[in-house]
């Protein structure tokens, strides 16, 4: 059997809750027994709303936050011991949501891309060539190397961020809402680029988003996160066409769509009041005629 690039097993993360005077008063389970794996060259989507734990999972995979319990296997190796080490960072890189704030405004494009090259020990003489090569990969002209972030459009900045993430030739790219700050036409081009790069470089993606329509078109498999737990997983087409969990149905029912065909596949359930629904509200929804699930 081929080993998956990323395996997450029973991952948990809880944060302490403290009173204003620093006394421990409880804990929040931000991530609760999450398990999934991504095969080589695949795109896995994590869907969820704010507070669902999707960014915490990304941070743990990146080695930025230690898990409370559970294992993260990258290429079969437990990152528990190597979390955040150069060897770990060479395998996994991240593209953040807002390129406006994830690029250092005081660094030119080539300086930004050179940082990981330097950390990776690439000889100084080869760096300029590699920068050009990376810019070419993200379809930016080599002349952009000397530009500063404020001279670039949103889509161009995100391309630079992608180039920077690819600098160390990682196997896994974690994409945290990579296009939510972009216009639709720009979003389409960036996703197009990611699909191409994935094929060319045999990259594996973990795609984190709340945009279900985008996820449907980009991720082969999807996991729906609700209050820290994966409530539904499976092939994207199957989950979207036949959602089984009430929360997935609610999410799908909430997506604003642009065609009658989409409207037809959207579950018809009444929208609830308030924020992220509680288990009781979900149950009430089902009783209110939410359907046969």
């Amino acid at each position: 059997m081929i080993r998956p690039v990323l395996e997450v097993i029973d991952l948990c993360k809880s944060f302490p809750v403290r009173s204003p005077f620093g006394r421990l008063t409880g804990e929040v389970k931000a991530v609760n027994n999450v398990s999934f794996s991504i095969g080589r060259g695949k795109v896995y989507g994590l869907a969820g709303e704010s507070g669902s734990g999707k960014s915490t999972i990304a941070r743990m995979i990146m080695g930025l936050t230690p898990p409370t319990s559970g294992d993260i296997l990258l290429d079969g190796e437990d990152i528990g011991s190597t979390g955040g080490s150069p060897a770990h960072r060479r395998k996994v890189q991240m593209v953040f949501q807002n390129p406006g704030s994830s690029l250092n405004p005081r660094r030119s494009v080539s300086q930004s891309i050179t940082v990981p090259l330097h950390a990776n020990g690439l000889p100084r003489a080869d760096r300029a060539r590699r920068v050009t090569e990376l810019l070419d990969m993200v379809q930016l002209p080599a002349s952009y190397a000397e530009r500063y972030p404020h001279e670039l459009s949103g889509g161009q900045k995100q391309r630079v961020a992608i180039a920077r993430a690819l600098a160390v030739a990682p196997k896994l790219l974690v994409l945290d809402e990579p296009t939510s700050a972009l216009d639709v036409s720009v979003q389409a081009k960036v996703i197009d680029l990611l699909v191409d790069l994935g094929r060319q470089l045999d990259l594996t993606f973990l795609f984190i988003s709340h945009d279900l329509s985008l996820m449907r078109n980009f991720a082969e498999k999807v996991g729906v996160l609700y209050l820290g737990s994966l409530v539904e997983t499976g092939r994207t087409s199957v989950v979207f066409e036949n959602p089984r969990h009430d929360y997935t149905r609610l999410l799908l029912a909430s997506v604003p769509v642009v065609s009658a065909e989409e409207e037809a596949m959207r579950p018809r359930i009444p929208l609830i009041d308030g924020e992220i629904p509680t288990a009781e509200q979900l149950l009430a929804l089902r009783k209110a005629g939410g359907g046969e699930a």
Binding site: V184, V255, I272, I276
Partner: protein, 281 residues
């Protein structure tokens, strides 16, 4: 004059920076009939926000200059009316719902304080008088209209004590305080989660229908347009490239730009081909 509540004719706006002049709006025509839900949709830089600011009279002059065109609200000429009348219209007859519920509320005053102040000044502009007690009653009434379960508690809360969706509702309540006829919403709900956004859109739609308001929705999200509006204007680079009823425009877009824009939206059904959007820009 036409029967439209608001009509914009051939509006041109220039921005002057250093020694350059940019033509930002190049002849916008727009009609908002009473009780209608109209969308102005476009990508960043298309001029939709400038159009909205021109309508509200919020363009910063002399940086921005209306070089040509006419605007009528209820048959009254907005561009030639005295400043005092113009100010009296703003926030009363035409009201705005702002985009970001996190930043458009003042963090150091309670919701009640902020809403009472708005009402006080709106009353003053309209030459109405209302006692402090009556103002509070009105504020609580409007908070109830935006489906707050406990208006009294919200009244006493600071913005930080409310969730994003609640704050967005407060902004809607603020816009409704003086019983406007025209609501202008700038990207409502974009800062919120999908399920919350869906609620907010439904709330706005219900309110507009119940109270017989006209709605001008400014957004870049085509899905939101389709859910809430009956007529659409598509903007690109300072011009309206296409307009029509929502049903027609989505079913059979005529212009290349509109076609490409709709094609770029990822579909829930999963048949989006990302490679097909080269026609844009």
């Amino acid at each position: 004059m036409s029967s439209a509540l608001l009509s914009v004719r051939d509006l041109h706006v220039d921005f002057t920076t250093y020694n350059q002049t940019h033509k930002v709006l190049k002849g916008i025509n727009l009609d908002i009939p009473p009780h209608s839900q109209i969308a102005l949709v476009g990508e960043s830089g298309s001029g939709k926000t400038v159009t909205m600011k021109a309508i509200m009279g919020l363009l910063r002059q002399p940086l921005a200059r209306i070089t040509a065109g006419e605007m009528y609200y209820d048959g009254r000429d907005l561009l030639t009316m005295p400043d005092k009348e113009r100010v009296a219209l703003r926030g009363t007859a035409m009201s705005m719902i702002f985009q970001d519920p996190m930043t458009s509320l003042n963090p150091v005053f309670t919701i009640g304080d902020q809403m009472r102040t708005i009402l006080k000044y709106a009353d003053r502009r309209l030459g109405r008088t209302r006692s402090a007690r009556e103002r509070k009653v009105r504020v609580l009434e409007v908070l109830g209209q935006v489906r707050m379960r406990d208006p009294e508690r919200v009244f006493q809360s600071y913005p930080i004590m409310l969730s994003g969706g609640m704050r967005q509702r407060v902004l809607i309540a603020m816009a409704l305080l003086s019983e406007p006829k025209l609501l202008i919403a700038d990207e409502p709900g974009t800062a919120l989660d999908v399920t919350t956004q869906a609620q907010i859109l439904k709330l706005m739609k219900d309110l507009v229908e119940e109270r017989g308001l006209a709605l001008l929705m400014i957004t870049h999200n085509l899905g939101v347009v389709r859910e809430t509006c009956s007529y659409v204007y598509v903007m690109n680079k300072g011009v309206v490239v296409e307009h029509g009823s929502t049903a027609d425009l989505f079913a059979a877009p005529q212009e290349d730009y509109t076609k490409a824009l709709i094609a770029a939206v990822p579909r829930l059904t999963g048949e989006t081909r990302f490679g097909t959007v080269e026609a844009m820009r």
